[in-house]
Amino acid sequence: MTTSPPGSLLTAQDLRKTYGHTHALDGAEFSIHPGEVVAVMGPSGSGKSTLLHCLAAILPPDSGSITYNGREVTTMSDAQRSALRRSEFGFVFQFGQLVPELTCVENVALPLRLNGTSRKEAERAALGWMERLEVDDLKGKRPGEVSGGQGQRVAVARALVTSPRVLFADEPTGALDSYNGERVMKLLTDAARSTNAAVVLVTHETRVAAYSDREIVVRDGKSRDMERAI
């Protein structure tokens, strides 16, 4: 078993996770530094999303260890993991993450409000991020009234509003055309770099993966770090 590389923010070793008879993860490894963008690539069903869910403390792995900032994640209670996600992590998914009945600015403000920030303050901060992602003109609209690319940028704003140290993005451009996909990726990585946040980017699109600093490939639940392999 290897120890976590020095200076890394989030590492995982020998992760295993089984659904029924399917080995979604079969000894996967991962590590990321602050400010680094790592693409997780691999064919459909290879375990990419499961790896992301484990790293993000959403799913507990069956075995293996995950360390965030020196703390073991796998032994945390559900409440601790929720708190970790709330304060340290940000999330962008392919779809389904905007609450349809809240306006865009309320959606962006949501994570701050979860942390107990007052409504006014949360929405002011939210508006700031929406400006950076060029969607501030949508603040009063509901998710159903905005385009896919706009909605995804709103989602990115929401993921960044708490200034997370790690941003998890699962196929963030999966539902978008190339133009809007590129726009989202540029804004996302720019914003992450400016705050020195690490980005775990699950994608099967290489053009999206090209926004990363390095990539790891997941195949049959096993990970392969291409940088170290070469």
Partner: protein
Amino acid sequence: MSIGHTLLGILESGPRHGYDLKRAFDEKFGHDRPLHYGQVYSTMSRLLKNGLVEVDGIEAGGGPERKRYAITDAGITDVEQWLATPQKPEEYLQSALYTKVVLALLTHRDAADILDTQRSEHLRSMRILTDRKRKGDLADQLICDHALFHLEADLRWLELTAARLDKLREAVAR
């Protein structure tokens, strides 16, 4: 790419000196391969001969690069014709990569490794292009995207091949 037509196109926006032409070309189209002065000179003299450009004036000091060129009506027509003619799609087989994969299978090596390595290499190039795109202007973005999409096409082929490795293995083993 037709350098002659490209230079003619640049001239259409107004008369330019030889060195101006080279700079404009390099800026917009010559990221990977800047033009030599010789190339500009020889191209312009061919266009001059065909009546597509004319010399608008010569700057003091002499030398071929001091000439100022302007496009003629025939030249405008020629650019128009060139733009209207569809480009023949470039088909090229990934012969080298294909050979490698088949050989790997024949010799019972791990073909997936080859593919992963190749993808990694492609990604390295794509990252450089993406980075340039991020910092560059619109023209930069366009040219980089062109290259990126081509590289992506290679990778898509790689992915597909990877997904079909088992079948390929059977076919090769036969």
